[in-house]
Amino acid sequence: GAGVSQSPSNKVTEKGKDVELRCDPISGHTALYWYRQRLGQGLEFLIYFQGNSAPDKSGLPSDRFSAERTGESVSTLTIQRTQQEDSAVYLCASRPGLAGVEQYFGPGTRLTVT
């Protein structure tokens, strides 16, 4: 079946511009996560959505970062006034909710801030 998809696959932006990254989770998966992967590093948790509950934003590094999700479908991660240190691969993952434990990852969006 279809996996997690993300768009765009690559994004190059100038410092100070806003960017929006999109994630389409696996159909029926109620839990959705955003992670950031800096070069040579592991993944850092950013934000978690579970169904219609309030998201857990505890991993967002600054107030320039925000994310939304409509119901149990698409999510967008927005970074305002991008900085060079925001350059990373942004990965989205979904899982089937409380019954499932493993997460299924999308291919990621590689963001480069020049």
């Binding site: 839990a31 996560y33 040579g40 590093q41 592991g42 993944l43 990965l91 409380l98 997460q103 990852f105």
Partner: protein, 116 residues
Amino acid sequence: AQSVAQPEDQVNVAEGNPLTVKCTYSVSGNPYLFWYVQYPNRGLQFLLKYITGDNLVKGSYGFEAEFNKSQTSFHLKKPSALVSDSALYFCAVRDTAGGSQGNLIFGKGTKLSVKP
């Protein structure tokens, strides 16, 4: 604090030889442990998990991992490495501090290089 350590940045193995990629963890309560593999320019692919039961868990592509509670380790193994196994491997533990949200804490990754 909860954490995952992968002590080796890189592991080099000859094709056909056994491989081990090391992982140790620190978490409160019973750990849920995972291995993921990342090929170049691809997302992470789930390999295997340990939740409870048998300490030796089998996963995709012939990989297995051994859970050792006393050593707080979850090393990834394969009896006979293939060149196509060359990739970046991540160990992860489910964050138990966040209740049921299930976000993962990842190690920094180990690059596996299998030479013909």
